[in-house]
């Protein structure tokens, strides 16, 4: 099976400046998040994947299709929701989506049907006959999502989808994105400044900094690994407690003041740690089920490639 995105020494120059510096990486997950500070090259990467910019060196592939040489074939698989305003203000919402679906190749009747369905699906059913120019910012975002999904794409590219949305609208949009991802075999590429948006919807993250890959992180594996890592603060017989845990297959590291770090194998559950502690008369005063948040991963990536400038 082709990876979702494959970058090989991808270099993109715009206006005489190199924006992307030889990106190389393979992203196999169905839902990929694109993170990075302002000016990191996220939008340039998306535009290159869509064939809007030609690589000066290297290549970018989406589902095995080269963005430069097979641009048209690739774009026939894509639904794109741009970051900035993108609509035809005088058209009614449903006509606008129908228009876009017809350009994607849907016959008139199907385009009409899908446009209505997409509008109702994103929650704008009541406003579908109003001109798009009269919509609020949040409604325009939803209209952009509707036009991106109406033709049933295989790859959905969302550039800052929650921009300008209030918290309930943002929550609803994130739920929609998750629903779309789960209801079909659609691949998702989501670029956002909001780490939470990416964390809630994506399985893999590509972090860019200054046009270079700072990190590629599989969030699913990261979550699985973190689930088995405990930090404990105990009072009592540490030695017997740790040796019993080691007998169960755990790895323990003992520090001062009763602090213990435990890495548990998959077969051991947390309740067994409590049971051992109770049996050995050890009080567990604090338990930190360590979970590397995406924020930690992002900040680590920023530190590895230079000081994080906190521009997120």
């Amino acid at each position: 099976m082709n990876p979702t995105i494959e970058l090989k020494e991808l270099e993109v120059q715009l206006g005489g400046r190199t924006i992307l510096h030889g990106l190389t990486g393979v992203l196999k997950s169905r839902a990929i998040g694109l993170l990075g500070p302002n000016g990191a090259g996220k939008s340039t990467l998306i535009n290159t994947l869509l064939g809007f910019h030609s690589p000066s060196k290297g290549s970018a592939r989406v589902l095995g299709l080269d963005s430069h040489t097979s641009g048209k074939a690739l774009r026939s698989l894509v639904g794109y929701m741009p970051e900035n305003d993108a609509f035809i203000s005088k058209m009614s919402g449903v006509r606008f989506v129908r228009y876009m679906a017809e350009i994607s190749g849907l016959p008139r009747e199907q385009a009409m049907e899908r446009a209505h369905e997409a509008f109702v699906y994103v929650g704008l059913g009541e406003a579908r006959y109003r001109p798009v120019g009269t919509y609020s910012l949040g409604m325009k975002q939803l209209a952009k999502l509707a036009q991106a999904i109406a033709h049933g794409p295989k790859v959905l590219i969302l550039d800052e989808p929650t921009n300008g949305m209030d918290p309930p609208a943002r929550k609803r949009l994130i739920e929609l994105i998750r629903e779309i991802r789960e209801a079909s075999d659609i691949c998702l590429l989501l670029s956002s400044h909001l780490l939470r948006d990416v964390e809630e919807t994506c399985d893999e993250v590509l972090i860019l900094r200054n046009g270079q890959i700072a990190s590629i992180c599989n969030l699913v594996e990261e979550r699985r690994a973190n689930r088995k890592f405990l930090e404990l603060e105990t009072i009592g017989a540490e030695a017997t407690f740790t040796s019993t845990l080691e007998g169960l297959g755990c790895e323990c590291a003992v520090f001062t003041n009763g602090r213990i770090k435990v890495v548990m194998p998959d077969s051991v559950e947390i309740r067994e740690v409590f049971k051992v502690a109770a049996d050995r008369g050890v009080q567990i005063r604090r338990m930190n089920h360590r979970r590397d948040s995406l924020e930690d991963i992002f900040l680590n990536a920023m530190e590895q490639t230079g000081a994080a400038d906190g521009r997120l």
Partner: protein, 294 residues
């Protein structure tokens, strides 16, 4: 993704052929145009001269009507090449006015709110986009230039009889060719202006300026230098020159000076150059993403 189910379903139905998709733009543009009463009125008005020309042809070929109206055959301008030059001149000027109303908004509406990336992120190229927009103007301007002109030609052929059609069949070529270059130049020029200027009134003004200011500058140049090459900046004059040569008839309302002073291939070259320049402007302006240099 049925409405009542409110869930997402991928599309698995048939797709239209890729080559035909540019016509979606044309269809939607026409639907929008015909919503405007002013446009419908303008279109009707632009076809009224054709009705007069048709009436004239009918009377010129009908002795009974001439008798009833107490007119003599010598009062009539013969329905020959000169008459068709007159029709073409009137209708191409009507086309110019129609183009000034329709052309300026054709691309500007998409650029104003950044809709272009939505078109170009689909299996739809910039060429398809320009073709779709060009087809709107092409069809519209055809409807007021060569189509009515050929209908009048057919009417005359039918009424004149006596083999008139065979002796005048050559006129079909200048009717179609001259209309084609005029339509192409007007359409591309107004699309280029529309891609550059977003306000309708400014864009319409820009089209008028492009036609009349260089012509005036050209005449000034002619007067100062004592040459005739300044007329190359007068696109309407270049078209009239092509028209007159195409119909092999020099008339007072077309060419006011020596009609051999500028060779016809040069006149064609000027109009083709304007078309190419417009295409270059469209190529620069129609980008999914603007790149800032520096």
């Amino acid at each position: 993704m049925a409405v009542y189910k409110r869930r997402y379903n991928p599309y698995a139905g048939s797709l239209t052929p890729e080559w035909s998709r540019f016509f979606v733009l044309t269809r939607y543009a026409f639907a929008d145009l015909f919503k405007s009463r002013f446009f419908v009125l303008l279109l009707i008005l632009s076809l009224i001269p054709t009705l007069f020309f048709a009436g004239y042809i009918f009377i010129a070929n009908n002795k009974t009507v001439q008798l009833l109206m107490q007119l003599r055959s010598s009062d009539f301008l013969a329905v020959e090449s000169r008459y068709f030059i007159l029709i073409m001149t009137v209708q191409t000027q009507v086309a110019f006015l129609l183009n000034c109303w329709v052309g300026p908004v054709s691309i500007a509406g998409d650029l104003t709110n950044g809709a272009l990336p939505l078109f170009l992120s689909r299996p739809f190229s910039r060429t398809d986009y320009v073709l779709g927009k060009l087809a709107v103007l092409g069809l519209l301007l055809s409807a007021v230039t060569w189509v009515p002109c050929l209908l009048l030609f057919s009417l005359q052929s039918g009424l004149a009889k006596d083999g008139w059609i065979w002796s005048h069949l050559w006129m079909v070529v200048p009717i179609v060719l001259c209309s084609a270059i005029w339509i192409l130049m007007l359409s591309l020029l107004s699309l280029a202006v529309s891609a550059w200027v977003k306000l309708r009134i400014v864009a319409t003004g820009a089209i008028f300026i492009l036609f009349y200011v260089p012509a005036g500058l050209g005449e000034m140049f002619n007067a100062i230098i004592g040459t005739h090459w300044g007329r190359l900046l007068n696109f309407s004059y270049m078209f009239r020159l092509i028209l007159a040569k195409g119909f092999r008839d020099r008339t007072w309302f077309l060419i006011t000076s020596d009609w051999n002073e500028i060779p016809v291939p040069v006149a064609w070259g000027v109009l083709i150059f304007v078309c190419l320049l417009s295409l270059v402007i469209l190529n620069v302006r129609l980008r999914a993403r603007e790149v800032v240099r520096g």
